[in-house]
Symmetry: C2
Amino acid sequence: MKQLLVTNPTCQFCSFSNVCEKDSAQKPLGLKVKSQQVHQRGSSLFSMGDKFDALYIMRSGSAKTCLLSQEGEQQIASFHYAGDIVGLDGFDTEQHAHNLTFLETSSVCRIGLVEFNRAMAESAIVRQSVLKSMSHLLVGEQQVLFSNSQYNAEQRLANFLLNLSARFEQRGLSALRFNLSMTRIDIANFLGLAFETVSRLLSKMQQQKTINVNHRQVSLLNIDKLRQTLLCGAEAKLSTNFSSQAA
Amino acid sequence: MKQLLVTNPTCQFCSFSNVCEKDSAQKPLGLKVKSQQVHQRGSSLFSMGDKFDALYIMRSGSAKTCLLSQEGEQQIASFHYAGDIVGLDGFDTEQHAHNLTFLETSSVCRIGLVEFNRAMAESAIVRQSVLKSMSHLLVGEQQVLFSNSQYNAEQRLANFLLNLSARFEQRGLSALRFNLSMTRIDIANFLGLAFETVSRLLSKMQQQKTINVNHRQVSLLNIDKLRQTLLCGAEAKLSTNFSSQAA
DNA sequence: CGTTCTATTGACATCATTCAACGCCGGTGG
DNA sequence: CCACCGGCGTTGAATGATGTCAATAGAACG
């Protein structure tokens, strides 16, 4: 159903393909995408404090969302791929709350805020899509939180690789062989680890024939073993550390 | 401006007070609150997998949002106080993605999904408020992520206390003396620490006259010292660990 | 073709967890 | 009224996972 009216293959997996007017004039209540932009690796789409005047949808490439503290420390909150909507952080204060930096040459569709508000007013489908997207992001953040505080280093990395794998698969790419567009430093920052730890663990997993790494190219050789990594230690924790249901 | 039409004092700090029709019939495009509910400590408002059919606004008391893995491990993603909107996780899959458990006797306002959708269709202010709330939650989650991976145990706890203090102050309560409605176990889980570590740090802070703790009652004796805790170690990290702006 | 960024690997240090013992408090039942 | 019990909280000692520091080498880019 989603794909019916979409002619551009890169739009196929966009969360807004069913409301986008880019490729079709048959949806008068949809979102009008005003322009497209191409950005180089390392460049920013917006930064903390910038005026919030548009939402963007990743059309190709990849990007990272970073928080920066006053002290100059950064925290990567998420990675984005084609079809992901970015910029939703701006509604809170009408300024962007984080930076969006591209990890490789990428393109985005821009939706001006005025146009967005018009579409929200006129179309129930647009409202539904937006709420769904934001809700999904919220739940995703919570799962990252879970991973980063319940899992050990190896489990976090396994989880990270499995998540990437799933996202590539959703986009019609290979779930077992893909490219990391981010550095080890970025991965480590995202997972709350030292980058040396990430490097060591990737080597270890390769030794154990669980994965194969060559620079940024990753192959998952034994995806079941990766999944089992996430379960290890769970039964041990079951007895202790149980929190107060009735405090 | 927000408070002008609000007669009930407990609504004063609600994010939806400007669109709520509970206390006034003068806002025909606002949200109709259909009912109120009172819940006991330890009881749940909704659980993972429950059908999503309403949003709720905390009216009094406090609650926690928990993710539960299949293995039975839980992760507390946030704590909620009067005025907070909860249930927004449901838009993603039309089922709730986490549990909401009350930490003390609490009451909530219920907004049925049908009524919510009507208000979203009809009122720009409602749309604005909802987007703002969700965006705020998103940014808040990211800050928790930052705290839990960039800060050490003491900094996380200091940050936690300062955040609570700010939230109480926003609600017109004392910023320097307040009650913890959650257990040490809950705090530790939220901060990604062992509960013994939280207990030890609270004792240490008390020894250093930074705070005073008596069971659940906390006084911030030296709030500047707490704030400085967050800066400690920042300059050391500035040189190293800088991630790739241009990967 | 050299500089800079990224990545790997080893040795060592340390912060936080784990395990354990114990006290406190509120509730419940004899 | 007192004894018991379970959940919560505190504190100590030992262990270990991960961070830190350091040396080196390969890629990328101008």
